[in-house]
């Protein structure tokens, strides 16, 4: 064997070739060592030092295993050994002398020699055994491993058979991490000047260290614009700017802050910050992205909580355990407490059948709760004890048990379409009294409905019996091929002449073929009285005299067209519904789900599961029987019948169809049936109405208590591999307090989270408030205060702010006052004045806060400001979204929920989808509705410019802005638009430029277009989009 040249890498390990990992080489050497002795293969160029390093690395084979290799081993190899081999080759079982529970054991091997040769899968007995080579015993003996597992195993051996050391329960060194320590009691630096406050005194030292002096105070317009946008997300009016500028009172600034904090717009801005953290959305995010029609109640609760300045601990507690807290609070607060738990309930749902993936939803809850409330990443511990922070897998499943003991509302999903387990907003002790009258009414209606149903089934039996005695002749039949074979194929149905008597039926049935119950089929059916003018056309009659009755009636109230289910006796397709899937003018009659008959009564094609042509009627057979359309003859005489059948949905194997003639008068029976049907429909409508009006309908997408249960650890995060249950408790690092036996433990969790001794919660929230005012957090990673997060730039101030916050009972408004009254908040963002030169060179990003930061408006602020400038912003509070009613939902992964609802309310009230992000919000860096967003990103891309150049909303806003000023004399109009859009008096040069521009546009277009162009320019400027 040739000696290898082993270059030594920086960390002293050896590497071979280009791609070989250190571990792989180590094991190749180890192998050679066993066979030939080490030194003969070490090239002379290998220094003694390197050789020593090499030797020591050989003695500790698992020292340098990479994170990826470790995850690969834990994901693919260890589970395979444990599940497949350990029974015979693990622990005390040593079949054939072989154990497979450690690398040493594998290398030592069994009766046949070493089980593996690292780096050489082909030569390894273990691999030969699983590949079932002829000269070794095949393993596992009963059945071969799947190919992928064999491949993983072979790859693992080839790559050096790296075996990570078992995790050792070392005492956490993280315990010294700053954020896990109790709040310190910092010495208070003295406040130096009259216009500074305590915040400034904390900021001074860092600035002094760099010999920086603070920048000048921003002018009054800059300050009021800053305060307005920061607190309300909206600009001040020009008049408000002027009156603030002229307010000579010494407390003008605090007054301004107070008035903004009292505005309802405050909650709409600051509530949105919390909604970012709570990954708020109005859809569930599973494969069909179903609507959450009640999510808005939680959204509005958050907005109101900010407006009411709800103490922060209560704010958090309500979101975790509001339903439990409500038990000891007056009844009138019950609904609000329950709604607050929407924070947990709106967690994302996953996959096709969401109930099979609740472990992922729970991860989302734990991850979001950890990050948003404590700045702690807990999610990682689902699969492995956290590498960096002291959160173990058992911590994770201790909290998981709390969620497993909680009933989450069910959003619905493709296989289980309807929502359930929503929480009624009536206090439990009132439910009986409140609901009694309504329940009585319902019971009464139910008994009448049952009675009618009995009557109807008897009528069906009579009718079926009667029909059996009539002659039933097939006139013509055939097979209509699937549209994939020939998209334009139309089956023609015709009968030149047929004698009918009054009450005879002519039936057109469309049924499934061998596969999958066929598809939507367009049907035409026309009957003409020979020698007379009378003609009956199915789609014409149904579309023109649009009627939801089945059968349809003519002027003399005779039944004409009927839709039937012939599978078990004769039944009219009785369930009627308009607006299927939210499509206006799409009406369906059905029996259960299928068969069904539906009509597009509009003049436009409807894109539903397939494209449905306008003014057409369609049938959809059931898998086990046809959908039938019948014409009930009102005449005696000869008729000519024509019709057509066309597959309207490519895919499948076409349909069988037949046309029959049933002779015998069924008019009376059909009328009876249809009348009883009508009564039944009326009763059901009354019942629906009654249900809709019921206070029981006032529900929230919220959680409730369920049966308390401790959750087992899931090995490697796999719910199919439950380990030992972990008692529900708090994180070990904070004492691991136990929950009481009766409840889920959410109440305890809420209290632990908000405990004043919790070192994270209050630091995290004051950091977030700071971040929103000053553009960057004192801790730059607001969702990660763990050991991987950033250290605070001003630790003493952070702790002092947290203490102040606690002292003021968690008042966020008080914190705004404190921060905004500082000099730091009121500084200019411009690099101007005496201090600027040094500041710009020493601390250009102003991490010492020597000057203020400039920021771009958020997506919400852009839209709101545009609407405001256009005079169109509706300042009302938003409510529910106009989702289609859940009874009509038939969303699938093929055709998910994807509507948009426009309005002119504030942007916080726009409906937020998880899987199809709103185009505008996505373009301007809106929050991620799938994960807690601590800081909005801030991109500047050409597609945003295209929006400002060409979007209809921007152009519309400009038109409206120009229209608002049309009564103003021309010489003042530019200035007026400027004042509205940018809230300041324009400079004379600006007026000149804009007026010149306006004239140039007018020369080519019209006067009005000239003004619109000026308005457009103003809405597009950087000054409009940025806050100094």
């Amino acid at each position: 064997m040739k000696a290898m040249i082993l270059p030594v890498t920086e960390n002293g390990l050896v590497r071979v070739g280009n791609g070989g990992s250190a571990g792989r080489v180590r094991h190749m050497l180890m192998l050679q060592t066993r066979r030939f002795g080490l030194m003969m293969h070490v090239d002379a160029r290998l220094t003694l030092w390197a050789a020593l390093t090499l030797m020591s690395s050989l003695l500790m084979p698992a020292e340098a295993i990479s994170a990826d290799d470790e995850v690969m081993f834990e994901k693919e190899i260890r589970p395979l050994f444990v599940q497949t081999c350990f029974k015979c080759h693990g622990g005390d079982s040593t079949s054939a002398g072989l154990r497979i529970d450690s690398l040493a054991a594998l290398l030592a091997g069994g009766d046949s020699g070493p089980a593996i040769i690292p780096g050489d899968s082909a030569g390894s007995l273990l691999i030969q055994a699983v590949r079932r080579h002829e000269d070794v015993s095949a393993m596992p003996p009963d059945r071969p491993l799947p190919a992928s597992q064999i491949e993983h195993l072979a790859r693992w051996v080839d790559e050096g058979a790296l075996w990570p050391r078992a995790p050792v329960d070392e005492p956490f060194s993280h315990q010294r991490h700053w954020a896990f320590q109790p709040l310190t009691l910092p010495a208070l630096p003295t406040v130096q000047t009259a216009d500074e406050n305590r915040v400034d005194s904390f900021l001074r030292p860092a600035m002094a260290k760099l010999s920086l002096t603070p920048s000048i105070r921003a002018d009054r317009r800059q300050r009021i614009r800053r305060a307005y946008y920061d607190l309300t997300g909206l600009p001040p009016s020009f008049e408000e700017v002027v009156s603030f500028a002229e307010d000579a009172r010494p407390d003008a600034w605090p007054r301004c802050i107070d008035s903004l904090l009292a505005s309802p717009a405050y909650g709409e801005r600051w509530g949105r910050h919390w909604l970012d953290l709570a990954r708020y959305a109005d859809t569930a995010g599973e494969n069909t992205d179903r609507p959450l029609p009640q999510a808005w109640k939680y959204r509005n609760w958050v907005i109101r909580a900010f407006n009411e300045d709800m103490p922060y601990s209560r704010f958090v507690q309500d979101q975790i355990a509001g339903d439990i807290i409500a038990r000891n609070d007056p009844d009138e607060n019950y609904a609000n407490h329950v709604i607050a738990t929407g924070y947990l309930a709106i967690a994302r749902r996953f996959d096709h059948d969401i109930e099979k993936h609740m472990h992922l939803t729970f991860e989302d809850v734990l991850d979001t709760t950890g990050k948003s409330i404590m700045g702690l990443t807990i999610g990682c511990a689902r699969c492995h004890s956290h590498k960096y922070d002291p959160i173990s897998t058992s911590d994770y499943y201790a909290l998981y048990g709390i969620l497993a003991s909680t009933r989450f509302p069910f959003s619905g999903c493709e296989p289980k379409p309807r929502p359930r387990d929503l929480v009624v907003l009536i206090p439990p002790n009132q439910i009986d009294t409140v609901l009694k009258p309504y329940r009585n009414r319902l019971a009464n209606l139910d008994s009448r409905i049952q009675e009618l149903q009995r009557f109807e089934s008897e009528a069906i039996a009579r009718l079926s019996e009667k029909i059996a005695s009539f002659s039933d002749a097939t006139l013509v039949s055939g097979i209509a091929p699937d549209a994939t074979v020939d998209r334009n194929h139309v089956e023609r149905v015709s009968c030149e002449s047929l004698h009918v008597s009054v009450g005879d039926l002519i039936l057109l049935s469309v049924g499934p073929r061998e596969n999958h119950g066929a598809d939507s089929t367009a049907v035409e059916f026309t009957i003409k009285a020979i020698g007379e003018e009378k003609k009956w056309n199915l789609s014409g009659d149904v579309v023109n005299h649009f009627s939801d009755s089945n059968p349809t009636r003519d002027e003399s109230n005779r039944p004409i067209w009927c839709y039937l289910d012939e599978r078990q006796g004769w039944k009219l397709l009785a369930d009627h519904m308009d607006g299927l899937d939210g499509h206006k003018g799409l009406s369906v009659w059905k029996s259960g789900e299928l068969p069904s008959v539906f009509v597009n009564a509009t003049d436009q094609p409807i894109k539903a599961w397939t494209e449905l042509s306008p003014r057409k009627l369609f049938v959809h057979p059931a898998p086990d029987g046809p959908a039938t359309i019948a014409w009930c003859s009102p005449i005696e005489g000869n008729v000519k019948i024509t019709g057509s059948i066309r597959d309207a949905h490519p895919g499948g194997d076409g349909v069988d169809w037949s046309m029959r003639h049933v002779a015998g008068d069924l008019t009376a029976d059909l009328i009876t049936m249809s009348d009883s049907r009508q009564s039944l429909t009326d009763l059901r409508q009354q019942r629906d109405q009654c249900e809709r009006e019921s206070p029981e309908n006032d529900v929230a997408f919220a959680v409730a208590e369920s049966t308390p249960v401790d959750a087992p650890i899931q090995e490697r995060g796999d719910p199919e591999k439950p380990g030992a249950p972990v008692p529900r408790r708090w994180l070990e690092m904070f004492g691991g307090g136990k929950v009481s036996a009766e409840g889920s433990g959410r109440l305890e969790l809420a209290k632990w989270l908000t405990d004043e001794a919790n070192p994270l919660t209050y630091r995290v929230i004051v950091n977030r408030i700071w971040l929103q005012h000053f553009g960057a957090g004192l801790v730059a990673t607001p969702n990660d205060f763990g050991t991987r997060g950033a250290a605070p730039t001003h630790p003493e101030m952070l702790d002092w702010l947290a203490r102040e916050f606690i002292t003021h009972e968690g008042s966020i408004k008080q914190m705004h006052r404190l921060l905004m009254e500082s000099s730091a908040y009121q500084r200019s963002s411009l690099v101007e004045g005496d201090s600027a030169e040094r500041g710009a060179s020493v601390d250009p990003r102003a991490t010492t806060y020597w000057r203020f930061h400039r920021r771009r408006l958020s997506a919400e602020e852009i839209r709101d400001s545009m609407l405001l400038a256009a005079g169109e912003l509706d300042r009302a509070m938003g409510g529910a979204h106009p989702f289609p009613s859940p009874e009509t939902w038939s969303y699938t992964q093929h055709s998910p929920f994807a509507a948009d609802y426009e309005h002119r309310l504030r942007t916080v009230y726009l409906m937020v989808k998880r899987n199809q992000r709103d185009r505008f919000l996505a373009l301007f860096d809106g929050a991620d509705p799938n994960a807690s967003t601590p800081v909005r990103s801030n991109t500047t891309v050409p597609t945003q410019s295209l929006y400002f150049m060409n979007d209809e909303h921007l152009h519309h806003a400009a038109t409206e802005l120009a229209r608002r000023t049309e009564r103003i004399i021309d010489s003042e109009r530019t200035a007026e638009m400027f004042r509205i859009a940018i809230q300041r008096q324009p400079e004379p040069t600006e007026i000149q430029l804009l007026d010149l521009f306006q004239l140039a546009v007018v020369r080519e277009t019209s006067i009005e277009e000239g003004w619109v162009a000026v308005a457009r320019l103003l809405l597009t400027t950087n000054e409009f989009l940025y806050v100094d």
Binding site: A147, H516, A922, D928, S945, L946, L1017, N1022
Partner: protein, 466 residues
Amino acid sequence: MKNYCDCTRRQFARSAVMGSALWSGLIQQILADNTRDPLAAHASHFPPRAKSVIFLFMSGGVSHVDSFDPKPKLFSDHGKEVKLDHPEARDRAGYERLFLKRSDWQEKPHGENGTLITNMFPSIAGIVDDLALIRSMHTDHSNHYNATLGMHTGSFAFTRPSIGSWVSYGLGTENNNLPSFVVLAPSMPYAGTQVWGSDFLPAEHQGTRVVPGAEPIPNLMPRIASRDRQSRELKVLGALNQQHRSRRADDPQLSARIRAFETAFGMQMAMPEVLEVDRESDHTLKLYGLDRGQRDGFGWQCLVARRLVERGVRFVELIHTGSSNNWDSHGDMADHGRLARQVDQPIAGLIVDLKQRGMLDDVLVVWTSEFGRTPFNNKPDNKGREHHNWAFSSFLAGAGVKRGVVHGETDDHGIQVAKDPVHVNDFHATILHLLGLDHTRLTYRHAGRDYRLTDVAGHVVTNILS
């Protein structure tokens, strides 16, 4: 890559504003500004083989045993019951009794190595010597939504950046008038916009969707009819913004936004020019099976893809077709015939065209679906096939890829991978490798940890590298 398009953004902007004396001073001010572009091209980890990617995604699940992995044994064993040895088959509803189903397509050896391919894709079969066929693909999920997400983001449940965004993030773009990542999709795919989303990567890396038809990109069509007028408006805007910036010169965002308007102005013209395929010769249109004047169909998507990479776009994805009316042939496999006819000629034409132009040395063409289809059914006479994630076929062609090779194999019935499995993560790792990107080093720090397209898995399929 040689610059296939001779007009640069700057020249373009200049020409567009020339001749307007009134504002010419102002435009000089705008052009004087020179800020760094977040999408500027940057170096790969090691010398790349491919400079750009055309990713052809067949939505719904293409049957491998009816196309690129034909199984003569399915023919002889047609209708026989089969017992599966796979953990996912245990107690699986619908898998109680399963019967093998033969293909309705005929296989025949193609190319120098006599690779067996059916007549479902006759044109692609004709160029098999240009392809590296992978018959041992497998994926983690048998649901469209999750498998589609997996094929695009490497994650089967969570929202993560898509492969095109990762490539854009890794390499930037070579044409500032166009986005770096373009998706040509007539309708929405399974899992929606997540398929081309940038998630936590900076937003400029998200795919820009082009929809064949009147408004291929939102707001691309100038709303001001006269280009001169729009140009003048932007110049005045530039002047106002420069005035605003004069006291704020230190702020790179303000200048970046001034610059972004310039690029957007260019895009309004550059993008429609790319989409205007009528300038192509009859010969070229014929290669793609396109009629003159046609503005949709997969042939149009393929030809536009070539025009995009020609102009320096980094990653172009073509989706055929979307979340409905696609390859999901449960009812009858005959539907595959209709769909194959839509893509066969255009795909072969694309590869031939790239080759004729010498571009196949720089462009990587990828063809895949989210999974395959079952070689069996739970009734012996079912005409369709169901979702199958244990094995399917994909192919690569072009830059850095061996020509005319077959990698991996499935068992006799095409049910499981028998040799050299290639997981979606491996597939991604290989694509990144060809672009000069080490998938273990292409990371982004988010929420406290480094994320990768391949998460903690993925091995480059070295066998197919030339």
